[in-house]
Amino acid sequence: MASRGSRIVEYRFGNFVASLIWLILIVLIIVSLAALPVIFIILFYLPLPPVNGQVLTPYLFLSMMVDPTRTLPVLKFIMHTELFRVAVFPGFSYAAIFAAVTIFVERKFLAKMQLRVGPLYAGKIEGIFQLIADGLKLISKEIIIPSGADKPIFWAAPIAFVAAAAALISLIPVAPGWVVSNTDVGLVAAFAILGFFPLIALLFSWASNSKYPFIGGLRALHQMIAFEIPFILSALSVVILSGSLNLTHIAASQTPYWYIFFLPISAFVFFISSLAELERIPFDLPEAESEIVAGWLTETSGMIYGLLQLGTYIKLYALAALFVTLFLGGWAGPQIFPQVLGPPGQISPLMQLLTLRPIYNAVTVNAVFWFSIKTFGIIMLMLLPRGINPRIRIDILLHTGWYKLIVLSFINMFIALALVYGGVFGPGGILTPH
């Protein structure tokens, strides 16, 4: 009945579920036959930390993995290591998941705006695995390096781009106490890292040994420098109100009143400048397709392009998160999660596992929830101009950056100063949190 051609068309949900169950079964068999012995051998040689007052032996560790009530303390221990913060949350994986969701949402959102369907086939449900398909395609493609290119820089620039973007997210506080690097000069460090991007763009375009990337790189340099100053000035008025450069402190200091209510112009300038920093439409001049092919990305291919795109979207997350931290109160929001999950008091071990009792922290979960919601909202706002605006010209762009936005950010800086000297904010102010 089923010919070769009609196999794809005759999709059944039952088959999909059956294949998933098969997959899980195979994974379980592999884990029990191969992975567990290997883990056992490795664990034997590792110095394990004491958990719950007990010295962890490999046997005890294995029994913890099998006994659900003992797994959670181990997880709790892992969650408080530095590596977890850098690699998983609030570090790279969290940002990468944000970037992946952003790419998917951008495609579907833009498609709905433009009366089309967007990705549809990969992953059966609304093309949800299109990103994975694209990633596999980019990995499998050959990387072509133009003859006469400066090879070391050509290879190093994409990695440096992702590294700089990842360095930016290490400064973002996601919840009270959940930040990779809680430095007192967080804001200055963020701007210092942002200063790397035009340098990388210019180096890469120079290393490509081609005309279109060169023009694109020069445009990127012009654009980023023109918007750097309003960018910093608009953040400065936040510093005036909060009296601190520490991003955790800035976020914590606006618990009752967000700064966007006092500094709407600064927030606007910051938003526009971050669009320009991100090279998003209407400021995508460095990648202007119809003029200079693909700008400074013209000679990229395969995973070099993939890395640059990953870096761009991580940077998008980082700047949206910075906006939320500076103007929208960071993680602040009403407490909607209960203090403990499930019934209070003593509960059975299985229920303890299900309610994540030892690792659940209502304040942190609430903070992460509100932070993610706000950041995603800002990201959606940043995606919106792509659907409604054309690209602007370099002279209008420079005029906007050097002239209009700087003036606007100065206006709001004076308002911030007036608020501080009027005794509203600052030490002993009416609205200063105690």
Partner: protein, 389 residues
């Protein structure tokens, strides 16, 4: 001051040493960029530009990548066989490019087109003008970096393609106009469907205006860019929307009415500002006016009658020549046909609007910014394949 001084000392020292200094010339500052034929901003066309910083100082158009020898091919086929290959240069506007051919052949062979056939021809021509203009607008949108303006017209173009498919049986290349009328009659229910689609499309046009033409960024980019004054427009011989954007209300449908156009009431849309915005806006106004024309055509069409005059198997006329032109999506599109009394034409010359508009490109590009290049180029309403013929 210091550089001058050091240059002077350098000159003195090298003169003393018997060396000759090669000074930097103006040419050394320039960068030559090749735009096309494999460039996202060119189409099947190539032009090289020299840029000094951000300004274009020289432009050299180089058409001919899609030359097909249409005119020579005409000499080896008879009048009827010529129709399908003549619409290849502009498949998006295939009814208009065969319209003037049919008119010229009718003049040569003395054929009278039945009245219902004339109306159906005009309807097909207007529908196809919409299809072409929407395609043009879509590319203009993406050239400015406006991706929504690429998707919307390409989507709405399907309305008219569906109508043309219903009318002619083919989606893009119709071969519908033939000497003596049109190939077949209108199907039942066509005019109701056509009126419905037009009503929907007029609503969409308002949205186009809101999202694209009234967008401040689009206005900033196009207003005052690439000025082509009235005198220069006449001197360069541009035609169609480019001519009408330079404050000259000239339309072949009004100036030399063919078939039923003298019975139709419509205004020639033109603008005074003569810049890129006017050149982008006049085709949009034409689309609005075209909807108005189509309503009248569907209203006035005779309910029954022949659509095609009876022809000889191999129509031929007396030896002679004829020149007829129509207003296509890109301006005046004329055919000059010489017949030596045989069923095959002796010589066919196609005068297309695209090529004449392309001649204005070097004049407009020199002195403008590189970022305005795609905008100026595509606002000239230029279709590379038609220009090369």
């Amino acid at each position: 001051m210091s550089t001058e001084y050091s240059n002077k000392t350098l000159e003195k020292e090298s003169n003393a040493a018997g060396l000759q200094i090669v000074k930097e010339s103006e040419e050394d500052r320039l960068m030559t960029l090749s735009v096309g034929p494999q460039h996202p901003g060119s189409g099947h066309f190539r032009f090289t530009v020299k840029v000094d910083g951000d300004y274009i100082v020289h432009c050299d158009p180089d058409p001919g990548y899609v030359h097909r020898g249409e005119e020579k091919m005409c000499e080896y086929r008879n009048f009827i066989q010529n129709i399908p290959h003549l619409e290849r240069p502009v498949i998006h506007d295939s009814n208009n490019i065969t319209y003037s051919y049919s008119l010229a052949v009718e003049e040569l062979t003395n054929i009278q087109v039945p009245r219902r056939g004339q109306f159906i021809r005009a309807i097909a021509s207007e529908l196809n003008r919409q299809v072409y203009t929407l395609y043009w607008l879509a590319i203009y949108g993406i050239f400015l970096g406006h991706s929504t303006m690429f998707m919307w017209p390409t989507g709405d173009r399907e309305l008219f393609i569906d109508l043309l498919e219903m009318l002619t049986g083919a989606r893009v290349t119709h071969a519908f106009n033939i000497p003596g009328g049109v190939r077949n009659d209108m199907p039942v229910g066509f005019s109701e469907k056509c009126l419905r689609q037009i009503a929907y499309f007029e609503k969409r046009l308002v949205e186009y205006e809101n999202i694209f033409y009234n967008n401040p960024l689009m206005r900033q980019r196009t207003e005052g860019v690439g000025l082509l004054t009235k005198e220069e427009a006449i001197k360069l011989g541009v035609t169609g929307s480019v001519l009408r954007a330079s404050n000259i209300p000239y339309d072949i449908r009004k100036a030399e009415p063919y078939d039923v156009y003298n019975e139709i009431d419509f205004k020639v849309q033109y603008m005074k500002s003569s810049d890129c915005f006017a050149r982008a806006y006049v085709p949009f106004l034409d689309m609005k006016e075209s909807c108005y024309i189509m309503r009248q055509l569907l209203d006035k069409i005779p309910q029954s009658g022949e659509v095609r005059a009876k022809l000889q198997p191999n129509p031929k006329g007396p030896a002679g020549e004829s020149y007829r032109r129509v207003e296509s999506g890109r301006g005046a599109l004329g055919y000059y046909i010489i017949s030596d009394g045989t069923p095959k034409p002796y010589r066919v010359k196609i005068s297309v609007g695209s090529f004449r508009n392309m001649l204005a490109l070097p004049y407009l590009l020199v002195g403008s910014k590189l970022a305005d290049m795609p905008s100026i180029y595509w606002a000239l309403n230029y279709w590379p394949v038609e220009a090369d013929r």
